[in-house]
Symmetry: C2
Subunit: 206 residues, 2 copies
């Protein structure tokens, strides 16, 4: 057996107190509660600054396969009782398979541009096997969010690279990166300051 060296990354914007989103996500407030003052939009303000953050933004959608939680996929909860094909329009930026973790079965959802959303109801290992099969042994996999999904893959030891975008605010509540994840040793691979955000990439050592 050769050691698998392809990257399994996660990539999250987080508040300084470690939250990737507030509670009570809805279609109107995709990042959840904001304490009434729009923190959710501030969380992703850097992302609108496309020129300055080109490298970090482009890197987010360069994987061969993606895994995300159904809360990142959209605001529908429980049974799939209304049409929903994601936040990203008819031609999502993934251009490949996206495996959506959920407890509620649903047929695959093909989109323009090569993206297909597959709904996986038998757990994180199954989604990972499917993503690996799609990406090939050398293809990068992105554990795309939110924190609930990322934390499960961190705890399972399947993530090799953590990309964080620290934004200048704290939230006090929400879904928190690293919750329930055993202590990790990391290596700082790169760190770059941009306006109102610090981009840091870590390799997971153990």
């Amino acid at each position: 057996m050769t050691k698998r060296t392809s990257t399994v990354s996660c990539d999250l914007t987080i508040s300084l107190d470690g939250y990737a989103a507030g509670h009570n996500q809805s279609e109107q407030r995709p990042f959840g509660d904001d304490g009434g003052d729009g923190w959710g939009s501030e969380l992703h303000a850097w992302y609108e600054n496309k020129e300055e953050n080109r490298a970090e933004i482009d890197r987010m959608t360069r994987a061969k396969a993606y895994i995300m939680g159904r809360n990142m996929f959209g605001p529908v909860r429980g049974e799939w009782d209304r049409p929903w094909t994601g936040w990203w329009g008819d031609n999502p930026p993934y251009h490949g398979p996206v495996f959506v973790l959920t407890h509620f079965p649903r047929d695959p959802q093909p989109m323009d541009g090569g993206t297909t959303f597959y709904f996986v109801t038998d757990g994180i290992e199954s989604a990972f096997r499917q993503a690996r099969a799609a990406a090939g042994d050398d293809g990068a996999i992105s554990i795309h969010g939110g924190a609930t999904t990322v934390n499960q893959y961190l705890a399972a030891g399947l993530i090799t690279e953590i990309r964080l975008h620290y934004v200048p605010l704290t939230l006090g509540a929400g879904t928190r990166l690293f919750d329930g994840v055993p202590p990790l040793k990391l290596e700082q691979v790169s760190s770059r300051a941009a306006t109102g955000v610090t981009h840091v990439t870590y390799r997971v050592l153990s």
Copy 2:
């Protein structure tokens, strides 16, 4: 009244999951539990890299007055039942007054080089007034740690500048920066990568 513009800073090395120290600090393990593998020393490894981190290290001891918790001051708990004059030898790097928050009264402890440790038993506002009186209206005050102390001053709205040194590990337990602090809006003032650490400074906006 003119608006007070002097800096009230805190300056903490933190794990990526937001901890400034582990639980169960002792004289042998000043940073507390380490899960058996020395994370405490790793937390401060960057600090040994004096040349590369000269600016950040020097800045830590440039205030006119300091406030710290008695756990940062040392490992003695409860009554002051044994001699203890801090971790910093006969000539501590403060060269000015250091107000130590504690519930256990003790006489002031003068040291070489102008440092005196004063033990304050009537709360954070009292310690702040004393530090302000010592520093003067224009003098910088450092809320020097640990997180339990810093969080109280953050919650009270008294800190104007937050300096963080992000180190590449997570801890999973300990005293956590921002615990119990209402949401904050900040401005990223500076951000600098060094070997194995990212130094970031934020101004508190609200």
